[in-house]
Amino acid sequence: MATKTISVDIKTVKNDVYLVEIFKGLLLTLKHFLKIGAKSAYLAPTERRAGKLSTNNRATIQYPEEKWVPYPQYRGLHRLNKDEQDRTKCVACEMCATACPADCIFIEAERSPWADEFPNDPKREKHPKIYEIDVLRCIFCGFCEEACPCEAIELTEIYDFAAYSRENAVYDKEKLERVYDLTKDGKFYQEGRKLDFEF
């Protein structure tokens, strides 16, 4: 391909006087100031693709009142999934704890109460007596989710779970199952739900 030489003459009188260009620039910012005819540069990708204007044409989300809704692949707080009869899916195989690079999962197994219901399924014989995730150590890599053979542990879209103490930042089985109840339909932020345990 031949090189194409383009000469742009920026030393024109118009550019040299500055005022014309300055006036054009001022007009552009005025459009944004008055919110007329200027599209926000900060649209969500889906909205930008659809050529939409964002709500009020502004980038700011007023956090405690409005909350950003993450995308489905977002890796936030963990949850422990349950089956149709509200029994934990986890079989305490410790694959997640082994895969965890931050070593933040602690599991202690015991014989599950529903072991007799699955005589032919050795997988449901155990369940975790203690299942704890220290979210202060967790790096939210999602390896536990990948390692889990039963689809028992998953990362949810929840991102605001700051705690007042280190003890409260350790999520036990009850908390993780409560997170499942809150997020199973995937509408945690759309419905304006909150984590309802002590922080």
Binding site: Y18, L26, T29, Y42, T60
Partner: protein, 355 residues
Amino acid sequence: MDAFTQNLIFTVLKIAFVLTFTLLGVTMVILAERRFSAFIQDRLGPNRTWFGGLGQSFADGIKLIVKEDVIPNHVDRLVYLLAPVVMMTPALMIGAVIPFGATIPSGELWLPLLGANLENLVLQIANINVGILYFVSVTSIGVYGIVMGGWAQNNKYSLLGALRASAQMISYELPLGLSVVAVVLMAGSLSLGEIVKVQQEGFWFILNFPAFLVFLIAVFAETNRLPFDLAECEQELVAGYHTEYSSMKFGMFLLAEYANLITSSAFIVTLFFGGWDVPFYDETAHGLAGVLLSVIVFAIKISFFVFLFIWVRWSLPRFRYDQLMHLGWKRLLPISLATVVGTAILMVLFKDLYH
């Protein structure tokens, strides 16, 4: 009460009004700058403190006062401590010569409270007959604050910022002064009260557009606002002359910067937009109400120029230093000289239409 005491009380009242207006104005301008810049950038800006963010500047002020006041070991202590004061004082002093309202007609109801024989009811702290010289000289004192601050901190970047500021001030003082000369030619007086009066009786001096344009650009440079804020450009000089200032000493620099903004806007209005003049209205017609209206109109005019300052700051990139000098010496200076000569010629030609 004798006339002297009455005059004293009246003057103190005026000083109190101007200082309150300037300092409260500064808090509002800082808030306005933050909100407007946010709107221009499709954001919201601070909107939580009090009603829609009105308390933001006060909260910032309290934070600055309560903060630890660090004086680094390597600074020149005396100069370091003096610089914010030298910066702040001229910024507030300029307000003394600005006429901010129509003269109060004597015989008003409230006057017996002060005493009936008040002679000077001009709404201007000091109607000195060299008001413009006062403005030009006092604004140039402000640059000493910058130079002292930059020098005292004993580091390269601050000193560079101070040097840039001083060179810039000297370069832009010339076109500033010359464009004012054009105004003086038209008004026939150096007194600001007289300039406003001439504009009130005749036309606003905005008609002398080249002089206005040069004055506006020079004022942007004098106040170190964005197209010309080379004294404190973050990318090159950290924060320039106030890099090592903390707490309220930094606050004083900030306060002075915005006080300068307001007084400069007031000067643009006074010199080119008729000051407190309400167009097509006789301010003396309705007694005190007319005077009040003139003060409000003056404030509105100032607000517009403050908005212009903010608007330009968030629209334009910074000049390079050689471009700045080029603009100052090779463009603005000849234009302002031509303006002075042109104005003088026109004044002579149309002497009969005028005055």
